[in-house]
């Protein structure tokens, strides 16, 4: 029974990590159709931001709280730069954005290697996040609870921004009908940039959160990018809801498979499940109905 609960939590926790990694993608890929392979490297940038901040601030607790908004800013600005220099020329060529951003990812990794050195670095977790809390008789690591909460907050905040704020209205308008939005006086260029800024900023936050779990190295992003894309694809694009469900479903699936088999086999099995699932529902879990063919 204990094991069941702890595995359930492991799955939820993994799901929250996936969700944080995929949330920004759900925005840039799901809403804008840009396949940003450098998303993982924006996460890496966020993680290194946490490392640098901790070096400056010293106190682990304060540095974590400072890093979260700063990581958002660093990731967002990187995204803005990428959008302004390359991606805005390529909205009509989504597949080429994939390749271009992969090249960018390659370069960013090497930059990290040259700036921070090849060895991985460590960010200390604050004292109030070390150890575990007792939850229904289950020792739950505080860091994992924190990430779960962070993921929930990020989703809620994003949902609020999209639903309630004028900016969110503009984003949705541009997504639903670009030409009509433009004709109504919405600056699609500015909206694109802002959307990309937010999406990339979320990657930065995910990166900061990941420092609580693992190491920070130049290849940090590569280990998440494939999974994150699968989450978005399986969730269905155009809706944050689908991404949330898919992230937790995949997290639970991975944890279950991993417990009953091995980590390697679990990973393969999850891939197989996704491929089969997309056979059944090529549009993903939740899809926006459009009049487009196919």
């Amino acid at each position: 029974m204990d094991v069941l609960f702890s595995q359930l939590f492991a799955g939820l926790s993994l799901g929250s990590v996936l969700l944080l990694a995929a949330l920004g993608l759900a925005l840039t890929f799901g809403q804008m159709g840009v396949i940003n392979m450098a998303h993982g490297e924006f996460m890496m940038a966020g993680a290194y931001t946490a490392f640098v901040v901790q070096g400056v601030v010293g106190n682990a607790g304060v540095s974590l709280l400072v890093s979260l908004p700063l990581g958002f800013l660093v990731g967002g600005l990187l995204g803005l730069l990428l959008e302004a220099t390359l991606i805005h020329r390529m909205y009509k060529r989504p597949l080429d954005t994939l390749l271009v951003t992969w090249g960018v990812a390659l370069v960013l990794q090497q930059v990290a290697r040259d700036v921070f050195g090849a060895p991985n670095v460590d960010v200390r977790a604050p004292a109030w996040l070390s150890g575990a809390v007792d939850l229904f008789g289950l020792a739950v690591p505080k860091t994992r609870l924190f990430i779960l909460a962070l993921a929930v907050v990020a989703v809620v905040a994003l949902a609020v921004v999209l639903k309630v704020t004028p900016l969110g209205r503009r984003i949705r308008a541009v997504v639903q009908n670009r030409d009509l939005a433009e004709a109504s006086g919405v600056s699609t260029r500015a909206t694109d940039r802002l959307t990309f800024f937010i999406g990339s900023g979320l990657a930065g936050i995910a990166g900061v959160a990941l420092t609580l779990l693992g190491s920070i190295g130049p290849t940090l992003g590569t280990s998440y990018i494939v999974d994150a894309f699968l989450v978005v694809v399986a969730g269905g694009i155009g809706q944050i809801k689908g991404t949330v469900i898919a992230a937790f479903a995949l997290g639970l699936l991975q944890a279950t498979f991993e417990y009953s088999t091995t980590a390697s086999i679990a990973k393969v099995l999850v891939f197989v499940v996704i491929v089969v699932f997309l056979q059944v529902r090529p549009q993903g879990l939740v899809s926006v109905r459009t009049r487009s063919l196919a």
């Binding site: 460590d122 200390r124 779990l213």
Partner: protein, 421 residues
């Protein structure tokens, strides 16, 4: 359009004919080379020893995922070469270094090894890290009959006349670590490793040892390389409740594992972990606070108290910065160059066959202590050390085998290991 289609078919047809002709021609010419794998002597060695320099090759991953570790080996090799050159070189010849990048890919290691041997004509090659890179290079060195000095602890079950292994084999690292655990009264262990050759082979050995020594193995888990989510594996470890964990995870995975381990309320007091891939270099990345008090098994620590080590550490930090640490693979690489020098000087020749002939019994007062080359299996006798990670990130010797252990890569001297190879 029709005529054009008809004629373009000529081109492939012509290519096919050319191909067929070539194949038949070659087939006829090689009928003699069809012997039962008889080692056709490879191209004559092109090593040039006529001048007052001699070329040697360093082959380390300077790019890619393994650059993290292998750059340190390249650094200490460069230090050794510098020292040797300042001291008059080898047989009066200055060493000329050809540095190559293995790009963290076995295929590239094989390719660059061949380049170093056949195009650069180096007298010997130093480097490699992963087992995969060594396995990839092995056939090249055997076919070209050249020498490789491999500086990293590895899974054993190998001995090639063309490779000198200056890191530990299993009976100099894993077996002493198990002896130590047994001595401490450990009755059950849990095995955690990355999913690749070293952990799997090591765990095979550990299982055999455990069975013979009444230690219960409560579980065996592998994580894919680069795996970063260890909550499930730590759950399994925790619920199994072993006396100790034997950790063969490599690189980045250690960080995620130890953070999870600590957060799950486990630590050196409740369930100590013995790691065989965490050295001084890695402790910083894993985070001292996560591994403090845990154990490691190596043959060298920066804290070893000897004049040779003091000189080595001082020279290394003078060259690369006072914040740098020295670790086992770095020391083994440093030692490997001096051992090669010793062999060459004993043989009074750079020739591969002469060096192989002279290798047996060559000793060097290394930073880790005195090491001696075993001429039969090309490994070196080393002292095993169990260390405890201190609060300063350095590792302090907790237990020592006392004297150098003779290398036994196939574990032939151990009854319980009979079924392994």
């Amino acid at each position: 359009m029709t005529p054009s289609r008809a004629t373009t078919r000529l081109a492939p047809a012509a290519a096919l004919v050319a191909l067929a002709l070539t194949l038949t021609a070659c087939g006829a010419r090689t009928a003699t080379g069809d012997g039962a794998g008889a080692a056709t002597s490879a191209a004559e060695s092109c090593v040039d020893t006529s001048g007052d320099t001699v070329k040697i090759g360093f082959l380390n991953s300077l790019s890619g995922t393994m650059a993290i570790s292998e750059q340190t080996v390249a650094d200490s090799l460069a230090l050794a070469a510098e020292e040797i050159n300042a001291d008059g070189g080898v047989l009066g010849k200055q060493l000329e270094i050809v540095q190559e990048d293995g790009q963290s890919e076995p295929t590239v290691f094989a390719e660059k090894a061949e380049k170093l041997i056949t195009s650069d004509c180096v007298a010997a090659v130093f480097g490699g890290w992963t087992s995969a890179s060594r396995k990839a290079m092995l056939p090249v060195f055997e076919a070209q009959d050249s020498l490789l000095f491999y500086p990293v602890q590895y899974e054993g079950l190998e001995s090639s006349p063309n490779i000198f292994y200056t890191g530990a084999t299993t009976n100099q690292q894993i077996v002493p670590a198990l002896d130590y655990l047994k001595e401490q009264g450990v009755e059950s262990i849990f095995l955690v490793g990355s999913d690749y050759v070293f952990p799997r082979t090591a765990n095979k050995i550990i299982n055999a040892y455990a069975e013979a020594n009444g230690i219960e193995v409560l579980g065996e888990e592998y994580a894919p390389l680069g795996h970063t989510d260890f909550s499930t594996i730590v759950n399994k470890v925790k619920s199994a409740g072993a006396d100790a964990v034997f950790n063969t995870l490599n690189g980045d995975s250690n960080v995620a594992f130890f953070k999870e381990y600590k957060n799950a309320g486990l630590g050196p007091d409740t369930m100590p972990v013995v790691s065989v891939s965490i050295a001084e270099e890695e402790v910083g990345g894993v985070g001292v606070e996560n591994v403090e008090g845990q154990f490691t098994a190596w043959n060298y620590y920066q804290t070893i108290d000897s004049p040779e080590n003091a000189t080595f550490v001082e020279a290394f930090q003078a060259k690369y910065g006072a914040d740098r640490v020295t670790s086992d693979p770095m020391e083994a690489a440093y030692t490997s160059l001096y051992l090669w020098k010793g062999m060459v000087e004993k043989a009074e020749s750079f020739d591969v066959a002469d060096v192989q002939e002279a290798a047996d019994g060559v000793t060097f007062d290394a930073p880790e202590g005195s090491v001696t080359v075993n001429g039969d299996n090309h490994h070196i006798a080393k002292t095993a050390l169990i260390g405890k990670i201190g609060p300063d990130g350095l590792i302090y010797t907790e237990w020592s085998s006392g004297e150098p252990i003779e290398p036994d890569p196939y574990l032939e001297g151990y009854d319980w290991a009979e079924g392994l190879s």
